[in-house]
Amino acid sequence: METKNTEKKHITEYCDVVVVGAGHAGCEAALACARLGFNTVVFTVSVDSIALMPCNPNIGGSSKGHLVCELDALGGEMGKCIDKTFIQSKMLNKSKGPAVHSLRAQADKQNYISEMRRVLENTENLRIKQAEVTELITEDRGNSKIIRGVKTSSGAVYFAKKVILCTGVYLKARCIYGEVSEYTGPNGLRAANQLTQSLIENGITVRRFKTGTPARVDGRTIDYSEMEEQKGDDFIRPFSFTNEPQDIEREQVSCWLTYTNENTHKIIRDNIDRSPLFSGEIVGTGPRYCPSIEDKVVKFPDKERHQIFVEPEGYYTNEMYLSGMSSSLPEDVQLDMIRTMPGFSHAEIVRHAYAIEYDCIDATELNNTLEFKNIEGLYSAGQINGSSGYEEAAVQGLMAGINASLSLKGKEGLVIDRSEGYIGVLIDDLVTKETSEPYRMMTSRAEYRLLLRQDNADLRLTEKGHDVGLIDDDRYNKLIVKKDLIEKEIKRLEETIAGCNDLINDFLKKYGSAELKEGAGQSYSELIKRPELNYELLKEIDSERPELPWRVREQVNIEIKYKGYIERQKQQVEHFKKLERKKISPDIVYEDLKGLRIEAVQKLSKIRPENIGQAGRISGVSPADISVLLVYLEQMKKK
């Protein structure tokens, strides 16, 4: 197989898996493959930018916190890494239901990078290479292709059985602010300008997306007395199920809140013609959920002010991140507008805000294992798939890594469905729905979110992680014990009856709860369901209660308290699963199916759904089309 080059000598190597890019997706993908025993090479344009956080200095947040917990439950690294390196932790939506509690931690960016790099460098089977991958090596096989490896800009060839693309925003990256436009990746890092061409040559559709980041300001030039302090939580909950709160206790730093005002908005409006977003200089599609400050001012003219959160980038630096102020206005305008805000009259910008455009793929060309439908062995994960966010990238990296490894072992891929995790919702949305903007996770995208909570991510997914081989027996056995404790305790509470006596009624009276009448006993679980009571409070009247770990107590309370809602969602899931189980053969020729509408034929042919449920989620496929499909599936089954 070795090729002889008579003119020049190039490095030629063989490995199991090549991962292109070492951002949040690339790190998880490479770690998963290496940990599962495969000889893995991960490429990065700069070793110093491994696990870089070029935008916000935090991990988690609404629905993203869920992703990190799920990743941890499956054996990923991000949760452990942020637990080690956070400088502030906060549970969002604490006053709401448990399904929308979302953990968010501010990171010390430098420590985060160092920690992740340390883990990568010390993982067996994993090698890091600083080089730009410029070409995919593929082989034709009938109508499709099979991956053979990659080439780098120096001409080196790495043959591999699987390749995972995790190029983030680096493909033909262009940073834009005001009249200035530079072909670089984030933070002035080298862009990858050649790989796109190779993707196109291999039949992959390439699109152009856009995102942006706000300015960083020198902390010494900010007057914090004019802003509101935002402290972290007293009780710090770890992301990783392997950590206990006491393991990760530490001194926390504060974030700060300030606001834009009429003056800020006037400066923006007066200079809007200098914004590349409005002049048409930027062609990439930007996300609606992460609008630049100029977008906000133009689209929401009635809002008198916008909140700006001022967040430290880490212990190592004075730089402060201005959350809510992403922009592509020229430098001079940026400085003028920032200085209008309370606390910022003398502010100095360290790094200005910019918009960044990059090439990404159309993820509907992927299977839900994240493998390309038409190129066997080539996987794709992270921002290249049209998603946005570190957490969204990380979980895709993990899943691509797991699936590449399973395939190497000759096993069936691991697909998490929409009823099992946010990871499933994210990937299913990416590969099924044609998104026209960078995709961000949101809790409202999860139909069964009452079941998909942060707190039960391990109960949902750790068994799968163990089956794959990323969760060791010790951790798995602990999970089994936990499940058992939860079940037993719920049963005990259902069977323990509170009678009408002074102890019980004094307790109920104390918490403003209706007292029990003579002869009308209620089980403890019924009492827990009352809005004013909960499992912890009932301890006062529960003499038989065993000592249980806090995570178990939490599950018991949630499972009992929201039983009605949870049961209803479980019924919905059952209906959902029925359709997911109806598999569609990959060889189906939709043009031959009479009775399908033309639009449905086009969409189904393009996306090639794997089951009836997925087919129904494609826009442009109607319930009548689904009926037609079902009839044909039956017909084929009988043939």
Binding site: K96, Y289, S444, G595, V628, E634, K639
Partner: protein
């Protein structure tokens, strides 16, 4: 386990006998709730393929005529155990006395006992999936499903009263806006606050809930949709269309003048011919005109006629045929519409070539009648002719209309229970994230009624209304 479905298997006509069919795992359970012996005892259905004699009892709603548990009809019930039935599932057939009203009442009771209205072509689909229909018939099955779907869709679009769909759209908008607000706040709690929102939501949901209740009540009286045969009156200006309509409905709804082109829009009314409902649409006269308003009227007339089950073509027999008549005849022929030709103004001297007109329409098969709308001559015969055409099957009635309306009712009831669940959750002091589950359920159910799906609505609403993000 498959859901249990039901439908009226015979046409919804004034026939001697009607059949209501139930299929699914719960069929036996459902029939035992409403079908008993004369003395009110349960009937033994343990043996399959037997005919049982008994009575259907009213379990659904009380009316002035029938109280709870009153006997509705004397029927024969045939029970077929899975897999020996058309669908391959447990199946019950109720042979009841024909008559639109009775069949509907029995059907409503079947639904009240736990079945849901069948989707278009669903019996056939189930038969196929359960292996009761030959493979070679797969395409025919798809054709049936598609044809029924098209008709159901047409039924839901054309039959739902404008005011009803307007209301439903408004309720959906309210629900979507409130849900989007909650979701935006949950997604970005540091920028959007939910303080006090429960109060606003409660009052919004309360309005929606009582609105849906009103619709549900009126649906019981059939006011939700326009059931019946869509009948369009076409003709030249001043041929006497409006006079005919007035005679038929017995009130001066259409304005009658001697000036040609008075009816510039379409007018609608329902009449009842011995149990048969006709939705009559009077239209603007067809002629070449430069008058903008009248032109719009003519366009509307033709588009109404396209959706019609039946066309009454009014000819002014006192004037000769001209281009406008040809235009109408051509329309009837190209759209293959069942039609009846009325030679109006029989009290005046006849100048139209009757044979020529009949020959030109529907290959000479169209019926022709002489009337004088103005003098009310020939109207009895007209009504009799329409009835005959219907009962002989010449006029086809869109049978999906009734089923569609039942599906819409079911969806409405589901939406009602969902919004009430929201109210309960608010009262129970639950947090906002619990509300949106039922809000979106209501949104989806209301969507069924007007034929709209959910897909990306919520996310789009969040992004368009709220200023999110970093």
């Amino acid at each position: 386990m498959s859901e249990t479905i039901a439908a009226i298997a015979t046409g919804l006509t004034e026939s001697g006998i009607g059949i209501v069919r139930i299929s699914g795992d719960d069929s036996y359970n459902i029939i035992s709730k409403i079908f008993k012996s004369k003395s009110g005892k349960n009937i033994d259905l343990s043996e399959s393929h037997k005919v049982h004699y008994g009575f259907i009892y009213n379990v659904s709603r009380e009316t002035s005529d029938e109280g709870k548990n009153d006997i509705l009809d004397e029927v024969l019930v045939i029970n077929m155990k899975s897999p020996r039935s058309y669908t391959g599932e447990d199946t019950i057939e109720i042979d009841c006395h024909g008559g639109v009203l009775m069949m509907k009442k029995i059907f409503e009771n079947v639904l009240a006992a736990g079945a849901r209205p069948a989707e278009p072509g669903e019996f056939t689909k189930r038969a196929f999936i359960n292996g009761r229909i030959d493979l070679s018939q797969a395409e025919a099955v798809i054709d049936i499903i598609n044809a029924k779907n098209t008709r159901a869709l047409k039924a839901s679009v054309t039959q739902l009263k404008g005011s009803v769909s307007e209301k439903i759209k408004n309720y959906r908008n309210t629900i979507l806006e409130d849900t989007a607000y909650i979701e935006a706040a949950l997604d970005d709690p540091e920028h959007i606050s939910l303080d006090g929102f429960s109060d606003k939501l409660y009052s919004d949901v309360d309005i929606v809930s009582s609105g849906i209740k009103k619709l549900l009540d009126s649906s019981e009286n059939g006011k939700l949709i326009k059931e019946g045969i869509n009948t369009v009156i076409l003709g030249k200006p001043n041929a006497g269309k409006s006079s005919l309509m007035n005679v038929l409905i017995g009130e001066e709804k259409a304005i009658v003048t001697d000036i040609a082109g008075t009816t510039r829009d379409t007018l609608e009314a329902s009449i009842n011919l011995s149990g048969l409902t006709l939705n009559i649409i009077d239209t603007a006269g067809i002629r070449n005109t430069d008058d903008k308003v009248e032109k719009i009227g003519i366009e509307r007339a033709l588009s109404a006629a396209k959706n019609a089950d039946f066309i009454i073509y009014v000819v002014d027999s006192s004037v000769p045929m001209d281009e406008s008549d040809k235009k109408i005849i051509e329309f009837i022929n190209t759209h293959d519409k069942k039609s009846l030709i009325l030679l109006n103004k029989s009290d005046l001297e006849q100048k139209t070539d009757v044979k020529k007109i009949t020959d030109m329409i529907n290959d000479g098969s169209a019926k022709i009648l002489q009337i004088s709308a103005k003098m009310s001559i020939g109207i009895d015969e007209l009504e009799k002719t329409i009835e005959e055409m219907f009962y002989s099957g010449e006029i086809n009635y869109n049978d999906e209309i009734f089923l569609t309306s039942e599906r819409q009712k079911t969806a409405l009831a589901n939406a009602y229970s969902a919004v009430n669940q929201v109210k309960e959750s608010i009262n129970a002091g639950m947090s906002e994230d619990f509300f949106t589950i039922d809000l979106m359920r209501a949104y989806e159910e209301l969507g069924f009624i007007i034929g709209e799906e959910v897909k990306e609505d919520l996310v789009n609403e969040i992004f368009s209304k709220f200023c999110m993000g970093k």
